[in-house]
């Protein structure tokens, strides 16, 4: 996984279209890197994959893979899927129902003589750990996880320069899913090509991907490593899409006394400023926001600490809802000072034992992890 200049350019995408559906975005992916396209249904993730595979021609766009131009609307270049050497694993696999698993894989190698094709197909299916007996069966008689493996083998048999996976884990059970995660991890180290994964499951994306591309309403909103997006979402929509529950509103007050720090006034959704004195938080100041500017701000789960330690700002809270789920506990904490404000936390390990509905406890926010985003009058990315 190198971030060098050439490797970084293994995949270069810049798409801009408004018809038939809006699709806009720009991102890159290095060889050996796994990029996850995330976003809600209808965000344009699958359309983006279709454009990359050559199944859809964008109004305007540039796609370059391994130094080869696949699409450049300015020069009138558009390679059909047949000439792209792209591996695509469809969401429902799209295996040929009338062909055996082996013949499905061999179909991607029609340029080879039949005997060699069969031998290669067996080799690829062995690689994804399908038994010899299973290789001769038709897709209809294989389990979801096995069909998935055949689809992956078929995509690899094409010797792709780019591997695309459309919601590859959505239709398989948890057991097969773990096996497929391992397979994907192995592929990443074996193949030195960019891999794009479409998913609506954020945990999966964070687990597998080096970088995320967050999409909504056909547009790429933000791109970066999962931890970066989590720490500094570009706007409130991104924060919502990556599942940051602790998003609040505020007003930027201005620099505090300390250099590099500023004051944030915490206001509630309804616009009220809480009872009595305004709640002021001292957070990092990048000097980009004007005093008086309304803002959204987020704090990731690991920025919410339980128990007073004598330093910083401590808030008194009450547990309004605690749910113990398997190995984790989800809890909502309501601030004593303003019951309209609640924080959501996930607890694991020994801490979770001590939480019950109605408990009073002290909460600290890690100021360094609070991320402030100027509130735009309109969401900037969404147009139709």
């Amino acid at each position: 996984m190198s971030g060098g200049g050439d490797a970084r350019r293994a995949l270069r995408v810049d798409i801009d279209q408004s018809e038939p559906m809006p699709l806009r975005g720009r991102f890159e992916c290095a060889a050996g890197e796994l990029l996850a396209l995330v976003g809600p249904s209808g965000a344009g993730k699958t359309s983006m994959l279709r454009v990359l595979a050559g199944l859809m021609r964008p109004q305007r766009g540039l796609i370059e893979v391994g130094g080869q131009l696949w699409c450049d609307s300015d020069q009138g270049v558009f390679l059909p899927p047949q000439r792209r050497h792209v591996g695509l694993v469809f969401q429902n696999y799209a295996l040929m129902p009338h062909l055996s698993a082996a013949d499905n894989v061999a179909l991607a190698m029609l340029h080879l003589p039949a005997a060699e094709r069969d031998a290669q197909a067996r080799r690829w299916l062995d690689h994804v750990r399908l038994s010899g007996e299973q290789q001769q069966r038709r897709p209809g008689t294989l389990s979801g996880g096995q069909q998935q493996r055949v689809a992956v083998a078929r995509a690899l048999a094409r010797e792709p320069k780019l591997l695309l996976l459309d919601e590859p884990f959505s239709a398989v059970d948890q057991m097969s899913r773990q096996g497929l995660y391992r397979l994907l991890a192995q592929l990443r180290s074996d193949l030195d090509i960019p891999i794009l994964l479409v998913t609506h499951d954020l945990n999966e994306a964070r687990l597998l991907a080096d970088r995320l591309v967050v999409m909504d309403a056909g547009a790429v909103l933000q791109e970066g490593p999962p931890e970066h997006i989590h720490r500094a979402p570009r706007n409130a929509r991104v924060a919502d899409l990556v599942g940051m529950h602790n998003r609040f509103q505020g007003v930027w007050v201005g620099p505090s006394g300390r250099a590099g720090w500023g004051l944030l006034k915490w206001v509630t959704e309804s616009g009220g400023e809480g009872e009595g004195e305004a709640m002021l938080l001292e957070v990092r100041d990048k000097g980009k926001i004007k005093p008086g500017q309304p803002v959204n701000w987020v704090v990731p789960g690991d920025g919410i600490l339980l128990g007073a330690d004598g330093s910083g700002q401590t808030l008194d809270a009450r547990v309004s809802d605690a749910r113990h789920l398997g190995e984790i506990t989800l809890a909502s904490l309501t601030l004593e000072r303003n019951p309209q404000i609640s924080l959501r936390i996930t607890l694991a390990g020994p801490q979770r034992q001590r939480i019950a509905n109605g408990d009073r406890l002290a909460v600290r926010l890690d100021s360094a992890l609070v991320h402030v985003m100027p509130l735009h009058p309109r969401p900037p990315a969404v147009t139709t």
């Binding site: 899927p81 792209v86 040929m96 029609l110």
Partner: protein
């Protein structure tokens, strides 16, 4: 038993199928895959021979192709070709009459193929022809097979159009259905009986065989 009529009917059915099959497969696939303004009209014309009384269809063919029509006169004057009351006329009538029997099942068969299989084939590097031969045709085959059987059997039993366009010339246009009719008209009920029974068994056997074959083909997936 009028074996001459039988062999004429079988010849007519075979030639009809041979000519109509490529057209039916291409037209059915085209209708399954294409969306365009006015498609409903095209589909209505395809079904028309199914709902129109055969005599009406035969009548229109007769007046448009007969020696009295401009087309018929031109064909006669220029090429000395006559398209009524002979085998060629019978074949034209049979082709028109069988269009819905071949196009509709084929169209349904192609429609039933998931759209992303063609896309998967393209991503696998298959050309349009390769996709047609290796993916679409095998998957549509049960539908095409039943369309072929329907067309064949339907031609064997065709009566109204044949009578209008061909009359009843032994060895030329007298098919088995007309032969049966002639027997009944001349009170040869025993002869009519035998021929009708043979036609019934032949038709039933062919249709049943195609259903069994389709079911097996589908089950193998």
């Amino acid at each position: 038993m009028d074996w001459q009529a039988f062999s004429l009917s079988i010849e007519l059915a075979a030639v009809t199928l041979l000519v109509l099959l490529p057209f039916g497969v291409l037209a059915g696939r085209w209708l399954a895959r294409t969306r365009f303004y006015g498609k409903a009209w095209v589909e209505a014309f395809v079904v028309l021979p199914l709902v129109l009384p055969p005599t009406v269809l035969g009548y229109y063919l007769l007046v448009s192709l007969g020696a009295g029509s401009p087309l018929g006169r031109w064909l006669l004057d220029s090429f000395d070709v006559r398209l009524t009351f002979n085998f060629a006329g019978l074949l034209i009538a049979s082709l028109v009459f069988n269009i819905p029997f071949i196009v509709q099942p084929v169209q349904r068969a192609f429609e039933a193929i998931p759209g992303n299989l063609a896309e998967a084939a393209a991503v696998c590097g298959l050309s349009g022809w390769q996709t047609f031969w290796r993916v679409e045709l095998p998957l549509a085959w049960p539908g095409i097979l039943s369309a072929m059987v329907l067309t064949f059997v339907h031609t064997l039993g065709e009566f109204g159009v044949v009578l209008m366009m061909g009359g009843s010339i032994p060895g030329e246009t007298k098919t088995v259905a007309i032969s049966i009719y002639d027997r009944v008209q001349s009170f040869d009920l025993a002869g009519a009986d035998r021929m009708a029974l043979l036609l019934l068994l032949l038709s039933l056997g062919a249709v049943a065989a195609s259903f069994f074959a389709s079911a097996r083909l589908v089950a193998r997936r």
